[in-house]
């Protein structure tokens, strides 16, 4: 069928078609930008922390009675013995934080001793002993784990930073971008002028701040134990044992010492959920918005086409009487909708890009992936064609005899 006559017929009722085209344009604008945010959030949520999340849980011990340093050390040792010797536990470690916790310790690393400079690299710090590697299930790509004699207790009279560290590959690349052979054995300076020797490199371990984009893959394990009142234990269980072990270990620790409370007993799954509440919510909200919006636009197209059909009942009857087949009538409305959609989608693509540029500038958002706009255009085009089908079918059922009646 010729597009020409349809186009000329549309020009006689411009306003109505311009409105649908505009509606489609703004719908596309929202659709692709919402989808871009959904995609960004989904990517963020699905990044791995690098530890054995499925089988790991964490808890905190808070001492509220004055203990001497030595007593606190003994308590931590006893706690760890108790946990590690519980059947079903793979390993456990006391640390200041863990991935996805959203709170932790960061330090600045420099290649030269002295105050931090613009070239300094920030990293998350995890204080662990030699059990840290197995508890967190880290994959060693170079070097080795800490030796037991390299692990020391934090000393109040000595502020020097421990001389050894295991770092993530990402952090190593950040510090030594030109190194091609091995990072093991290299030295970096922390806390202004304390040298740290790299003994091992692991493939992945996220910092505790999942929303801190530029440093999330930078972590450093430090072989130091800290006898503070507040201690976090990270416990890795054998597959399937986690849920059974959680209450068991909580009760055992609570019973073993009454001068402290045990709190924040939490699976890593739960910690992950808490860390990404905002992103998960954005996915749900925007997903709903996208669906609702598409529905409203589709209903709008149905409504307007129905109107056009009933307004043109007589003309359609005449066309039928003159020999137009039913598919030809349906095709008329489909082509008409294609033209409106095409105009709306092209305008919408421009608007979508404009809005995306504005949003990337105003808020810390990623620019849209190139393929999102064509996919959005295709989806809306198909939705439009579907929306038209119903009224068009009704139009095709108009009897040719209508033509013989007047007005």
């Amino acid at each position: 069928m010729d597009i020409g006559p349809i186009w000329r017929a549309m020009l006689r009722n411009k306003a109505g078609f311009i409105l649908i085209a505009l509606q489609i344009a703004v719908t596309l604008t929202i659709l692709v930008n919402a989808f871009g945010i959904i995609q960004e959030s989904t990517d963020k949520i699905s990044t791995e922390s690098g530890i054995d999340e499925a089988n790991t849980f964490t808890l905190a011990s808070v001492l509220f009675t004055d203990y001497e340093r030595e007593q606190r050390k003994v308590l931590i040792d006893e706690d760890l013995d108790l946990i590690r010797n519980t059947p079903g536990v793979v390993n456990a470690v006391a640390s200041n934080s863990f991935p996805l916790r959203q709170g932790g310790w960061s330090m600045s690393l420099a290649l030269e001793p002295g105050n931090q400079t613009a070239e300094s690299v920030n990293t998350a710090i995890y204080f662990v002993d030699e059990h840290g590697m197995e508890t967190f299930d880290l994959g060693l790509v170079d070097g080795r784990n800490f030796l037991p004699e390299q692990v020391t207790w934090d000393d109040p009279d000595d502020n020097t930073w421990p001389a050894y560290a295991i770092i993530t590959e990402e952090l190593a690349k950040e510090i030594w971008p030109d190194e091609t052979v091995s990072y093991v054995g290299k030295t970096v300076f922390i806390s202004d002028d304390d040298p740290v020797n790299i003994v091992g490199v692991v493939d992945k371990m996220q910092a505790p701040w999942p929303n801190w984009d530029n440093v999330v893959e930078r972590s450093m394990l430090v072989p130091q134990r800290r006898p503070s009142e507040f201690v976090r234990y990270i416990v890795r269980a054998e597959p399937g044992m986690r849920d059974q072990l959680m209450p068991e270990i909580e009760a055992a620790l609570a019973a073993s010492n009454k001068d402290r409370i045990i709190r924040d007993v939490r699976t890593m799954d739960h910690t992950r959920k808490l860390a990404y509440v905002g992103d998960a919510a954005m996915i749900k909200i925007l997903g709903f918005v996208v669906l609702l919006l598409t529905l409203i636009t589709a209903l709008g197209i149905v409504g307007l086409t129905s109107f056009n059909v009933s307004r043109r009942t007589r003309q359609i009857g005449i066309r039928r009487a003159l020999g137009a087949t039913q598919p030809a009538i349906i095709r008329y409305f489909l082509i008409e909708n294609s033209i409106v959609s095409a105009v709306g989608l092209v305008v919408g693509a421009a608007l979508a890009i404009g809005l995306n540029i504005a949003m990337v500038e105003a808020f810390a958002l990623e620019p849209l992936a190139w393929y999102v706009i064509p996919i959005g255009m295709l989806v809306l085009f198909i939705v439009g064609q579907f929306a038209v089908t119903g009224p068009a079918r009704r139009a095709s059922n108009i009897s040719p005899a209508i033509a013989t009646r007047s007005g």
Binding site: N13, A15, G16, L19, I20, L22, Q23, V26, T29, I30, N33, A34, V62, F64, T65, D66, N115, Q116, T117, A118, D154, D155, P156, D157, D158, N159, D192, F230, I261, R263, K273, L274, V277, G278, A280, A281, M282, K284, I285, L286, V289, L292, L293, I296, T297, L299, G300, G303, L304, F307, N308, S310, R311, L355, M359, A362, F363, A364, L365, G407
Partner: protein, 439 residues
């Protein structure tokens, strides 16, 4: 005449039930989406201490790294060091001054039935309650003398008093925390500023602390901060004394300066103080002191999450789509009724009368959409509450006040009248004769 137009409008709406329903639903959904985000933003950006906004100031001095600002571009640190907090407090140059931080303590209830539990405690100076207009139910806060004497006194929130003492007047009772007794000096009335303007460094929407103690007691007891803590260089030595003497920032400071003259005098005092400290080798960066009102401080700290602004922008576009939808449908209706309009014009109806008639009809649809929109907003807020249910503060961000209800109706009517303008204008342009001809 209005009644007649209302009747005509009603008949017209009833003549096309599906179409009218679609229009009302589209407006309702659009208003609902938009008002949900407007409401959340309205609550998040509220200034709970607006009545004192011109006399309260958050204090910042720049003790940071000579090579890097605390935050680009040249923002001074968000909190102050112990050295500066205590010296500025002692100087007492403002009408009132408050320094505070939060810390974790373990509360040991008298009642053996209740297990000891950990709580966040705000360690602060005596002026806190008067400066922030904190309401008391029983007793009062403590005075500066108690601060100096390091008296173990405490103020409890109403909720904590309910939990520990069943809501009775507990002033004078002794509360055990970390095996140390504190005398209850006062119990607060319900007080939940949203956002928590006096401590935006941590989560600005969390509940205020339920327990307050003198700052001096906390420092002598070597309490660590459970809030934000940053250092640009490490303390000289290990241990609490060295931490206090360090350049680490962890204390929030506010002053009350009733007049502009007071403010200027205090700015001069701060400048003199920093200059004096520079001579002692501290403050390596250029002079960069700042006094911010609560409102300025909330904007600086970006208490409204970017995502809320993104959703607000998208929801405004959503409303636009719904309105375009309505315009299109109203237009279709007008075009379809051309004969009707023609006839009325031929019978003597003026353009002005037609205009009024169709605007009234559109207003009816807008009003219905607005009312349904309030319901939709309520549903939208419940949806937000649901997807953020992991946040225990979310319930305080999804409440609708009368202001918002009014705004929803206003927005519905304005937007539906706006949507009706073009179709109505088209209706008025229908000439009396042309369409009658075919009949």
């Amino acid at each position: 005449m209005l009644r007649y137009y209302l009747k005509l409008g009603f008949l017209s709406i009833r003549a096309n039930p599906a179409l009218s329903l679609l229009m009302v639903a589209a407006i309702a959904v659009g208003i609902g989406a938009c008002m949900t985000m407007v409401t959340v933003r309205h609550v998040m950006a509220d200034n709970p201490i607006a009545h004192k906004n011109d006399r309260l100031f958050h204090v910042q001095v720049d003790n940071w790294n000579p090579n890097n600002p605390y935050r680009e571009p040249n923002e001074p640190p968000e909190q102050v060091t112990y050295l500066d907090a205590t010296r500025l407090l002692e100087a007492g140059r403002a009408h009132r001054q408050v320094i505070s931080f939060k810390s974790d303590r373990v509360v040991q209830p008298d009642d053996d039935e209740i297990l000891p539990f950990q709580e966040e405690v705000r360690a602060t100076s005596a002026d806190f309650f008067a400066m922030f207009d904190v309401p008391f139910k029983y007793g009062s806060g403590w005075d500066a003398a108690a601060d100096r004497a390091e008296e173990r006194v405490t103020v409890l929130s109403a909720a904590m008093n309910d939990r520990l003492y069943g809501g009775e007047d507990s002033t004078g009772r002794m509360l055990m925390m970390n095996n140390e007794p504190y005398r209850v000096a006062g119990v607060l009335d319900d007080w939940r500023p949203t956002p928590k303007f006096f401590d935006l460094n941590n989560n600005p929407y969390e509940d205020p602390e339920d327990i307050y103690t003198p700052f001096s007691v906390a420092v002598t007891g070597e309490w660590g901060s459970s809030g934000n803590n940053s250092c640009w260089k490490s303390p000289e030595e290990a241990g609490y004394a060295s931490y206090l003497a360090s350049e680490c920032i962890w204390i929030q400071m506010w002053v009350e300066l009733p007049t502009q003259a007071d403010k200027e005098a205090y700015e001069q005092f701060l400048a003199d103080y920093v200059t004096e400290q520079k001579e002692l080798g501290r403050f390596p960066r250029p002079l960069n002191n700042r006094l911010s009102t609560p409102e300025e401080w909330m904007i600086n700290q970006e208490v409204v999450d970017d995502m809320v602004s993104v959703l607000l922008a998208l929801s405004a576009l959503f409303l636009l789509v719904c309105l375009l939808n309505t315009i299109g449908l109203l237009l279709a209706k007008v075009i379809r009724r051309r004969n009707d309009i023609s006839l009325r014009r031929a019978l003597g109806a003026s353009k002005a009368e037609l205009f009024r008639q169709y605007i009234v009809e559109a207003g009816m649809i807008g009003g219905a959409g607005g009312l349904a929109g309030i319901g939709m907003t309520w549903l939208g807020l419940r949806g937000i509450e649901n997807v953020f249910s992991e946040y225990d503060f979310i319930e305080h961000l999804v409440t609708m006040d009368w202001q918002m209800v009014g705004l929803a109706v206003l927005l519905a009517i304005v937007s539906s009248l706006g949507a009706a303008l073009y179709p109505t204008w088209r209706a008025c342009r229908v000439s009396p004769a042309t369409t009658l001809r075919i009949q």
